[in-house]
């Protein structure tokens, strides 16, 4: 069995985290990476570039919108903003993720349900 030093996030995990970050505040790609890494206490090491295909997928699905502008540090940035349908999608994803997490926890610790 291959030694997995870094575990891959399940499909949709990155999009979910991006949407949650954008729900708190619109941001550009670099700020998103910073935000995700900091909030996860550096437990999640996201390859910075992998954000961009995810952002394009979100753009295509109209879950976010993007606009060029100037950041607070006077740089040219493309800021992403979550849309109403993005918020709805995020709610659904979070609840299905929590159900999945609960299921796995129950299998790993039988008889012990996690309170969320």
């Amino acid at each position: 069995m291959k030694e997995a030093t870094a575990r891959d996030l399940f499909p949709g995990a990155l999009e979910m985290m991006i949407l949650e970050s954008l729900r708190r505040q619109p941001a550009h790609g670099y700020a998103l990476v910073q935000h995700i890494q900091q909030r996860s206490n550096n437990l999640l090491q996201v390859e910075e570039g992998s954000l961009y295909p995810a952002l394009q997928r979100l753009l295509k699905a109209k879950l976010v919108t993007a606009e060029w502008g100037i950041s607070s540090t006077n740089r040219r940035v493309r800021t992403y903003q979550i849309t109403a349908s993005g918020l709805r999608h995020l709610e659904k994803q979070i609840s299905s993720f929590e159900r999945m997490f609960e299921g796995i926890s129950l299998v790993l610790n039988p008889g012990k349900a996690t309170a969320s």
């Binding site: 390859e47 910075e48 961009y52 394009q56 295509k60």
Partner: protein, 163 residues
Amino acid sequence: MNWITDLFRRRKLYNGLSEEIRLHIEERTEQLINEGMSKMEAEQQARRAFGNRALLEERSREVWLWPTLESILADVRFSLRQMRRSPGFTIAAVLTLALAIGANAVVFAVLNALILRPLNVPHAESLYTVEHGAYKDWGFFVSRLSRSARSQPQLRWADSVHP
């Protein structure tokens, strides 16, 4: 039919992507320099942290490109599968279309040769037809001029054949 609008949106989004990635790597580089790295080290580290830039750019573009092509191909494959599964229906549909198209083609060819093409004489536009008033609507089929006191011959331009 969303793929049509996607095509136009896509070009706008593509153009920004390379620049966006470049700015990202620059911002990371600056951050590392502020943390005390040398410029060259910072650039290398920033690029490494970003990942395979060309590959990621390509994958970002594919988000727009492939699904439209794939969905069209999937539609074609699906319809071919359905056609193979009900051969009776396929034959009926194909025959109907063939008959309809063939009939239309024949009628148009005849009309084209007889009506729509100019006469094969010099100065065809200066030809006249003379039509008897009473037989005005039959002029196409009847080539007879009758002289009658009540007849009102009508002159018309002839630039095509009227038998």
